[in-house]
Symmetry: C2
Subunit: 765 residues, 2 copies
């Protein structure tokens, strides 16, 4: 981003927008555009907390693959939007926030005028299609409200949502050729053949229902929809983008291109035509359902039984105020306030509600289920989110995390593989990343008293998942005590993550008095030791003959037995047994040197290029904050002789990795994990090993904070003498009593109280 653009953005970010008269509310500090440039992969559009609809502009639709070949450029469009792009293709209804692979972008809508164009055209020649140029000067992105002027035809587009409904308000210039394009072929990470089937019924001159079935990151995914327009369309049309089907009966009987209400094909594009007066508003509601068109209509009727766009905006903003209002923080400056509340925002987007207003949802088994006593959620990027995001919910929103655990256990019940989710994705598992971190989320929620369902059944699901011998080397892991290098390409990260997960199972078994399981999994929790090569002082791939791999590069990530992290980072991934790890790695002194080196060494460009999902700014030395495996690392100084270095590094990471501005995130936000790290760390503590109730202390960023906990309890954090320079903690008090360790317990915090840090400019050595 060039400097003038940055300046404009900063102005937008700092000056509350006047549009919605929300100046006195916390939403003013939420800047959805943060993370929309470069690697943040956040989306700027409208949504409510954990809403099923994320109605957001897509700035390009380049294909994920052409002729089966991956197109690396598409990676930029995980959330559909890149801040530096000059055009908007349209507004689609589903977006992941911060992922490093993608899907969705369902039901792309674009208002246009003039000759009907059903192809998006190109960014350098928007006149070649239905897309339009736009300027950030004319763009507003707020909680549950997005506005942009589409330059091509001077159409103002405004977007808002309820949980299951996206609402559009388009202000058209005068024309007898105003259109709304429905591109049902468009999608994020699209490729030829991704659209498995599309079915559309035009029920009347202002109502359309249908479904779109895709085979993408999620293999068997169907999104049902219902659409209503506030104004009757005078005419509509459809085009099938498929190779011709050999059976021509439908074509002989009907003109299917013009005003034909019964459409079905692999790929369908449609246009709705209107006469518009100058400045005339045409609104549109798009409701989604995982189950049926009928349910989509019901969702619409229940959530938006009217055409009051502003009321929908306001209700969604109120929902955001409720979430944001859990936190009253005093920060050092405005930028920190924006970072804090935008982090809250980003940590309240995913997972998303995957259930209709009547409680029905589609299960992993592709059957319709009724959620009994819980809200069903999908889009669980667990490899990312088990670390801080779910622990954060356990602290501030335990009911929601209990529902998420219920959703995971329902997924397990529906799994023909008898596995908890790896990456729960719209009634599918996309199996992304390593480990089986559902067990961490389940164990942490039960151990912290958050999930109060059948704990023994939950433990059984964890054990069964951890014994899925055919999945990613688990069988060999059980047999060898590590995943052999010749069995699996990411053998080291898998071994380390399995060992941590197994420790979680052991903790849960212990709590439930299941001694045999505790013993078995406590043993497995130590398997990380089997891959530590003391000769080189790093974790290292070992084959099934027990031989460490000879050709091995400690700086490289690719092809070394790891995923999204080299061994410099991953060798520290023993969050559950850090003291043992430190001893194995040569004791406190040597361990501290290791940590110092990690943060200060230079990672040459070649190795940086092989580190996925981050910008150059996402790295400090060789510490990769933009990816997750090291998120606990800064806190590890607490067990060395220099805990002050934790305080220093945490503040450094906050200052280095979180900025206002579209490029403010140094790596993928990863469904709220990066934001949850920020939130914990800014309060001065962090869950190094979810599954135990301790938080490790760091250095708070807030001056003070009041956090609403469950049952009317409150956590107050006070950082006395807080300043930009006073990053070190000289003393910590819990409810007036000085803490003698660098830990504080979750169960103590949940009773409410005051955590007071005395900050200082110099470390306490």
């Amino acid at each position: 981003m060039n400097y003038s653009k940055l300046l404009k953005f900063m102005l937008l970010a700092i000056l509350p927008t006047a549009s919605m008269a929300q100046q006195d509310k916390l939403s003013q500090y939420v800047k959805p555009l943060i993370g929309t440039a470069k690697m943040g992969h956040t989306f700027p559009g409208a949504t409510v907390p954990f809403g099923a609809v994320q109605l957001s502009p897509d700035t390009d639709t380049i294909p994920y693959a052409v002729n089966g070949k991956y197109n690396g450029e598409v990676y930029r469009y995980c959330a559909g939007y890149q801040y530096d792009d000059p055009t908007i293709v349209g507004f689609s209804h589903t977006h992941f926030s911060g992922t490093g692979h993608s899907d969705l972008g369902d039901i792309l809508v674009m208002p246009t005028q003039g000759k009907v164009q059903l192809n998006p055209g190109t960014a350098d020649n928007p006149a070649s299609g239905y897309r339009s140029a736009f300027s950030h000067d004319n763009e507003v992105a707020e909680t549950n409200y997005y506005k942009v002027k589409l330059d091509k035809h001077n159409i103002l587009a405004e977007l808002t949502t309820t949980t299951r409904v996206g609402m559009h308000r388009y202000t058209f210039p005068s024309s007898d050729q105003s259109h709304i394009i429905l591109d049902l072929t468009a999608g994020i990470y699209n490729y030829d053949g991704k659209n498995v089937w599309t079915f559309v019924r035009v029920l009347n001159d202002s109502t359309i229902t249908g479904f779109r079935q895709t085979n993408g990151w999620s293999r068997t995914r169907t999104v049902y929809f219902a659409i209503k327009t506030s104004k009757k369309f005078k005419n509509y049309g459809a085009k099938y983008m498929d190779a011709a089907s050999p059976y021509k009966g439908f074509w002989r009987k009907f003109d299917q291109q013009n005003n034909h209400p019964d459409l079905a094909a692999h790929n369908i594009k449609m246009h709705l035509d209107f006469d518009t007066q100058e400045g005339e508003e045409v609104m549109m509601k798009v409701a989604l359902s995982p189950v049926s068109m009928r349910n989509a209509l019901e969702n619409m009727e229940v959530e938006t039984p009217h055409w009051n766009f502003d009321q929908v905006v306001a209700a969604g903003k109120e929902a955001w105020e409720k979430e944001l209002g859990r936190y009253q923080v005093d920060m050092l400056n405005q930028e920190d306030l924006v970072n804090f509340y935008t982090s809250v925002y980003h940590a309240n987007l995913m997972p998303t509600v995957y259930m209709d207003v009547n409680g029905q949802y589609k299960g992993l088994d592709q059957e319709i289920h009724q959620a009994k006593g819980f809200t069903n959620y999908t889009s669980l990027s667990l490899w990312d989110t088990f670390r801080a995001f779910h622990p954060w919910l356990n602290l501030v929103d335990p009911k929601r995390n209990a529902d998420i655990v219920s959703s995971m256990l329902a997924h397990y019940d529906q799994s023909v593989l008898k596995m908890l989710p790896i990456w729960s994705h719209y009634a599918n598992d996309n199996w992304c990343m390593s480990g089986y971190h559902s067990v961490s989320v389940v164990a942490d929620a039960i151990i912290k008293g958050v999930y109060q369902g059948d704990a023994e059944a939950a433990l059984a699901a964890c054990v069964q998942t951890a014994n899925a011998r055919k999945y990613e080397g688990i069988g060999a892991y059980i047999d060898f005590g590590y995943v052999p290098d010749d069995v699996n390409g990411t053998s080291v990260s898998n071994t380390l993550e399995y060992a941590y997960d197994d420790w979680c199972i052991a903790q849960l078994a212990k709590k439930l008095g299941k001694t045999a399981i505790e013993k078995e999994f406590t043993k497995r929790a130590g398997y990380w030791k089997n891959l530590y090569d003391s000769r080189i002082g790093f974790m290292r791939p070992k084959d099934s003959q027990g031989k460490f791999r000879e050709k091995f590069d400690v700086l490289d990530t690719h092809g070394q037995g790891f995923i999204e992290g080299n061994t410099w980072n991953y060798s520290l991934y023993v969050p559950h047994q850090p003291e043992e790890m430190m001893q194995v790695m040569g004791g406190a002194k040597r361990f501290e040197v290791y940590l110092d080196s990690l943060f200060t060494m230079h990672l040459p460009d070649h190795f940086f290029a092989n580190t996925e999902d981050i910008t150059r700014e996402g790295i400090i030395g060789n510490y990769v904050h933009g990816n997750e495996p090291s998120h606990h690392v800064a806190y590890l100084y607490n067990i060395t002789k220099s805990p002050w270095k934790t305080q220093e590094r945490v503040r450094q990471i906050i200052r280095n990795q979180y900025h206002n501005g579209p490029a403010g995130l140094g790596g993928n936000d990863d469904c709220g994990q990066m934001s949850a790290w920020y939130l914990f760390s800014s309060l001065g503590f962090y869950p190094v090993a979810p599954g135990e109730t301790s938080y490790w202390l760091g250095s708070p960023l807030v001056k003070s904070a009041k956090i609403q906990l469950d049952a009317g309890k409150e956590l107050r954090v006070i950082a006395e003498n807080q300043s930009e320079k006073n990053v070190y903690v000289s003393k910590v008090f819990w409810n007036g009593e000085e803490l003698k360790t660098f830990k504080i317990d979750h169960l103590a915090i949940m009773k409410g109280g005051e955590l007071k840090f005395i900050m200082a400019a110099k470390p306490k050595k």
Copy 2:
């Protein structure tokens, strides 16, 4: 078929098979192999009356289209089986009976041994695939039982069904490489891309569920299934036949080819592997559902909660005995008995139950519906079946036809086009053939007191359908009083059929006292006159300027404004106003000459070739019995001075068109219509114009018959002096009273009684 083959077949046909000890039952006269050679398009496999499962061998799987180009050869395989073929590809679970286009063939199963082969191979080299040679010597086809020895591996295959479950019993030789192939890509009228999606879950070592979604004759069709084997498979495997999907996550995580229970792709083939002892029986149950895998499992549990194959055979045979037992007939010879009961059989196959045991079904709107108070049916080939099949049900099985009408009205309620079905096809309409003959079926059922639901709503559905202006020239038909030649390619047959259908609506409106509707549609019922060209004495295409087409061939079917009939046949298609038609065509004498000519003229080969769906034997002169438009024509002599010619021609058609033997049908059985014509005609009367209660008299074939009617009533038909030569009727008595016209009323018959024909060798002139 060569002579020795014919002889073998005749022996099989005449000698009751000993297998099932059914000698004393009527099933002995049912020969499912009739119609399986040439153009009959019947299937020989196992099914129960109107069963949702038709489990039958497929003898080839040649594609419907290659690279989008139609392959004419596939037409032979509308029912999957051609008698003269040397190999069987496998046994699939859904088949149309007697259609002239096709689809289905779902879940193809084949037992094999040795190396796993997942492709069918070719007929001339069965070793190249999983198919096997077979001999008719080792084949038995009976009601609800089919048996064949598969020569390649000497495996005995036996098939039987319940309404929703197909049951297989395979007797294997000894091998540690016995297999059951599940080819989920196979289908009838298949083509590359027809399989939209396939989803499979292997629940345990003997249970599989899944669905198969296709885009064929039916556009958006999904068949859900559940499979159980009586013996656990020791191993199983799957192969995706698709071009690679660009997202490889699934493949990196799992070996999906071997024992992986979670499968989904466009095209999947599977194999189940067993060790078998010599002569070991392995059984398999395959349950279908239109709604869900869960429902398929429930269907299986309810209908076949055991592994007693013989009990399933016996229960299905009992169901057949119940249907066959409605008719006690005394015929001139054994062949006639076989023709009669096989016609009953063929008239009890379709439509098929399309509803789960719990009452759920998928509607035209692709939503799940609960059938309230009726059994839902699909596969309604109405252009064929409105003529005699539905009237036949009104006579002998009115409850079933009432349910069919309810199914059609449910289809209407679910139709976004607000149309009754044209060709109801598994929650779709395939729009095949002309007219909107649902209205005939609805009107006939209400006028005859069969359908007792909301008659006014039914009338409204008929009127709405008849005013679907965008469908096949209806708008122009309403505006011009005929379908103009320049608007629609089959303008004449459409005009004639619409006019008849409109008359049906008028009759229904009259019954309900809806005078305005009666008047409107009575007017439309006369629109046939607008296409009669008195200069040439034929119906003829006319353009929207009112000008008859100049270049016009009275013998040709193709491109002349007709479908499945030239103008010689179609000019007679005014079943509702035959006297007016006769007057328009020059009066009784000239009309009789016309009919005589039709039956005696020679249709040159070129024009025969353009007459679809029939063999040379399906024609008498230029009268085409193998297609439907002339099915009433032989009865039209009744309004000339020579009703004896009706008697002569009806007997001639029966003798000419219906034979024992695989090639016994001269044209497609068309979902029971050809058979229903036979059944009516063999009893001596026929519904020339469904919608009126009169039957027209012909010449009975039976010597005597007792037909069970509703409510304990009985129709007795007696043909005194019946013989091969005595085809003429000298007198007819109803309950002892001589009939003075050649008509008898349905409502009289339904009260029960005796219809006595006095047969004679010479006509009564």
